[in-house]
Amino acid sequence: MAEEIIRLVNIAKEFHGVQVLDHINLQIFRNEFVTLLGPSGCGKTTTLRIIGGFESPSSGDLLFEGERINEVPSFKRRVNTVFQNYALFPHLNVFENIAFGLRISKLNNKQIARKVTEALELVNLRGYEKRGIHSLSGGQQQRVAIARAVVNEPEVLLLDEPLAALDLKLRKEMQIELKNIQKRLGITFIFVTHDQEEALTMSDTIVVMKDGRIQQIGQPIDIYNEPKNMFVADFIGASTILPGRFIQDFHVFFADRAFDCVDKGFAPQEEVDVVIRPEDVKLVAPEDGMLQGVVTSVVFKGVHYEMLVESGDIVWKVHSTLMEPVGSNVGMVILPNDIHVMKKVAS
């Protein structure tokens, strides 16, 4: 079984009377790639800063390998951080930036040179030792920031939206590269982002946060397929979310008719939210559909078309590789497996 490295126990944080973190409980394991995902202001960065030692929690315990480290200052923690805007030292060159932590740990010059070279190789920046920070592109600065952190061989690497400032193509490249670096180093990564796709691509575990609370913890595939509530479903991907009523196990009522589903355990007649992903709505001939509707908009998205289908007072979002023209009558089929019934959240 995986070994725990960090645990947050009932961590709460207040800033000037505002509750930023509301009693967070979280367990992080060795070698895990954990992503804290959520909209801005959800408390994900505060959580990371508490782990890094830049903020102290108002209450609760932070455990590192089972020991409470609330009072341990950041310069004594065995974690390193890749900051959002990199925070590279402008008065030092690439080599000295990366060597900064090593010089403190009193290694000799030869060891330092070797480790810096290794770190630069890891991030594909060999030969940039003497360059000044300002002469580097955003992507290169990003790599130096990663090298500067990992060269100290931390047990945990904290990354605060490190890819936010990069353009789309570079971001995709760095996502894969970061994942590779994590695998190669075999250390724990705690990654903060508001980009759900980034989270799904890179993580072993995703922690979805909102308003200082954890909404769901799970593997990407579980978060995507079995969102625990409407917020997670909405945040993780564009879905159609409908109010419904649970009839009995494996039966749910929404969109003016009863459907078979795979969910159970709700009370009969309980008000629920039903999530249908756009790629799970199959378009068929009107007479073959469970529901009938009219196509009101078609947008080409590259791999698929995104269509809006109006049926009664519900607008369905549908993804399909085949296009139905605007105004055409269509039928829709939804399989029991693709119907996600969730507890209603007071919003």
């Binding site: 030692g53 830049f54 310069f75 390193n80 959002q84 030292f89 900064f100 952190a149």
Partner: protein
């Protein structure tokens, strides 16, 4: 670019009140009066080499240097405190700091005279504890004190400006990499604030080395500095030639110190550099 005619009044001003007087000073310094006739001569500069005058120059540099160092030692922590305090409090603190500067320079310096007098406030206060009275006024101490008091804000403000602009994430990054707060100060904060320190040093050293009011009032005329000497030549001895030569020496002195500073200030794009 099309509007550069708007700068003409200033150029004219500069020409009339800076360039021309400078040339005049240069002319007087190399001119000796022989029977009412001006002749080219090095005599004025040779006179500066008199130990009496060299001593004055040395004293000016020494006192200005001491004041600058003390201003730096006192001012840097204050600048740090200002930069680190909350934005709402920063304004109040800066205003408190700058308010004395709104008062007339002479009034401020006269105030110190009454404070330092033999039966002044400080000696009275010390007397309550059975101490003194001390001769505080008309000492080098009083001169240095007056310079520090008057010029300290010029040290604090440029350092504060640089520190305030510094990304707080840099300090965090240093802690993150294992550096203690003290190490972080010497490895990150201080090197990055150097441009502010350098302009602070020049903004204190320059007025300190040229001042003549402070040594006159607080030094009681016993600690003549180069500024007093120049004043004497122009206003009392009427020896414009020698006064001009001294002025040129003073300018060279300042230029030299600026040159040394800018040497340390190279390759630093940010901050309040002077040259």
């Amino acid at each position: 670019m099309k509007r550069n005619w708007m700068a003409y009044p200033y150029f004219f001003w500069m020409l009339l009140f800076t360039i021309v007087p400078l040339l005049m000073v240069l002319y007087f310094s190399f001119t000796a009066s022989v029977n009412g006739d001006g002749r080219f001569s090095f005599a004025n500069f040779q006179r500066v080499l008199d130990p009496l005058y060299l001593n004055v120059i040395w004293r000016s540099v020494r006192l200005a240097f001491i004041s600058t160092v003390i201003c730096l030692v006192l001012g840097y922590p204050v600048a740090m405190l200002l930069a680190q305090s909350q934005a709402s409090r920063q304004f109040t603190l800066i205003v408190l700091f700058v308010i004395p500067m709104w008062m007339n320079f002479l009034a401020r310096t006269y105030a110190w005279m009454t404070l330092l007098e033999r039966n002044g406030l400080i000696n009275t206060f010390l007397g309550w504890f059975g101490l003194g009275p001390y001769n505080l006024l008309h000492t080098e101490f009083a001169v240095v004190l007056g310079m520090i008091y008057n010029f300290l804000p010029f040290m604090v403000l440029p350092i504060y400006t640089v520190l305030n602009k510094m990304d707080p994430a840099l300090t965090e990054a240093s802690y993150d990499l294992g550096a203690t707060p003290i190490r972080t100060f010497f490895r990150v904060t201080l090197p990055l604030s150097l441009p502010g320190v350098l302009s602070g040093i020049s903004m204190v050293f320059m007025p300190a080395v040229t001042t003549f009011v402070i040594p006159q009032l607080l030094g009681g005329g016993q600690f003549t500095m180069i500024g007093n000497l120049i004043e004497q030549q122009f206003l009392r001895s009427n020896d414009w030639g020698f006064g001009s030569a001294l002025s040129i020496i003073l300018m060279l002195l300042i230029l030299l110190s600026m040159r040394i500073m800018s040497h340390y200030d190279r390759d630093r794009g940010e901050g309040g550099g002077f040259f």
